[in-house]
């Protein structure tokens, strides 16, 4: 006596097709929360209020130049995935500042139908000529509105 009778052929084909269709993932590249830059916000040292700035920002490697308009409260600064630290030079008409940050770059395939995403974790300040800095988020992520606060 058999436990199961043999399946007929059409039932088996439907079964296999159902499995193949049901196992497909839905593409959604936009749900990847990783970003390739850190968000820096500027504050007044005395009042702790948000401060509008007009810096031209470059890296010490001279590879990048990221102009900033005169009424910006924040800037997104890209980080170099081939290094684990980077020095930014903030140049204004009156003052120059330097900021060195360290980080751990990682590549991740969020969805096989989307390009690999790059994100940075372990974000920290190594050196700064601003009055003070504060890390608010150690991972570059769209859900974070601030990675680094700068007071000057």
């Amino acid at each position: 006596m058999y436990f199961c009778e043999p399946m007929n052929r059409s039932g088996l084909i439907i079964l296999i097709l159902g499995i193949l269709v049901g196992c497909q993932d839905i593409d959604n590249c936009t749900s990847d929360s990783n970003t390739e830059f850190m968000v820096v916000r500027f504050f007044d040292t005395e009042s702790k209020a948000a401060k509008k700035v007009g810096f031209r920002v470059a890296t010490d490697e001279g590879a990048g130049l990221f102009p900033l308009s005169t009424d910006s409260l924040a800037i997104g600064l890209p980080l170099d995935p081939m290094n684990t630290s980077l020095v930014f030079v903030f140049d204004s008409d009156t003052n120059d500042y330097e900021l060195e940050v360290s980080y751990d770059p990682s590549f991740q395939i969020f969805d096989p139908d989307c390009p690999p995403s790059l994100f940075f974790s372990g974000l920290d300040t190594l050196r700064s000529s601003f009055d003070s800095t504060a890390i608010r988020g150690t991972v570059t992520n769209r859900q974070l509105t601030t990675n680094l606060e700068v007071y000057f």
Binding site: M1, Y2, F3, C4, E5, P6, M7, G11, I14, L15, I16, G18, I19, L20, G22, C23, Q24, D25, E36, F37, T59, E61, A63, G64, L65, F66, P78, D80, P81, M82, D104, P105, S106, F107, Q108, I109, F110, D111, P112, D113, C114, P115, P116, L118
Partner: protein, 217 residues
């Protein structure tokens, strides 16, 4: 939810085809009474039907009274592309025990719940050209050469006799408590035997074709 259709279809199909089970109940026998050897037909099927996938798995099940001691061993290779190239390859094994709720163990049929401990050894490589975000377009070539993963599984298995000593059936797996070691700058996407790393836990459906070797008279 994506497996719901598959699971329901399999359950209904199996229940529908399995109404002729004998009510024969025999006294339990102690000692090894059967060996089943088989392959995971679904994985072999995906190798044949999907490009970029090469996966095979074998299963050895030892029947001991109403317990089954189960070993799985498999290899898996995934190639993914689309503006990038990602290759992941390695092997895995599972070992564990099932409680068979079929009382007539001489029939070789199985309706069981079980636990598995699984480990995978694998490597991966990503080749990708980044866009210029201030540092120039960069050619990324990252690899992890000694990746390890381990996880636990809760399994629901069903095996039924097709003809002679040929059996077939499925195993539903819930995989949890996953740990990965050996990752560098590249975070791995695939784990052989587990699936992808998008979620901490995973579910899977495996379909086996097995040959039974009875050991008791």
């Amino acid at each position: 939810m994506k497996y719901t259709f598959n699971i329901l279809l399999l359950v209904f199909a199996t229940v529908g085809f399995c109404q002729n089970q004998a009510a024969k109940i025999v006294q339990p026998k102690y000692g090894l009474h059967e060996v089943k050897i088989g392959i995971n037909a679904l994985r072999t099927g995906r190798t044949l039907l999907s490009s970029g996938k090469d996966m095979h798995e074998g299963e050895l099940a030892l029947g001991w009274n109403r317990w089954n001691i189960v070993f799985d061993y498999g290899t898996e290779k995934n190639n993914r592309s689309g503006g990038y190239s990602y290759e992941n390859k390695g092997s895995y094994f599972r070992a564990g025990i099932d409680r068979n709720f079929i009382k007539n163990i001489e029939s070789g049929n199985v309706l069981a719940l079980g636990l598995r401990y699984a480990r995978a050894s694998f490597e991966d490589q990503l080749i990708y050209a980044t866009e210029d975000v201030g540092f120039g377009a960069q050619d990324i070539n990252l690899s992890n050469s000694d990746l390890k993963a381990r996880w636990l599984e809760l399994n629901f298995s069903l095996r039924g006799k097709i003809t002679s000593q040929l059996y077939t059936g499925f195993t539903l797996r819930w995989k949890f408590s996953r740990k990965i070691s050996g990752e560098g700058m590249l975070q791995t996407f695939d784990i052989p035997g587990f699936g992808n790393t998008k979620r901490q836990n995973a579910t899977s459906f495996d379909y086996y074709i097995m040959w039974r070797i009875p050991l008791s008279k």
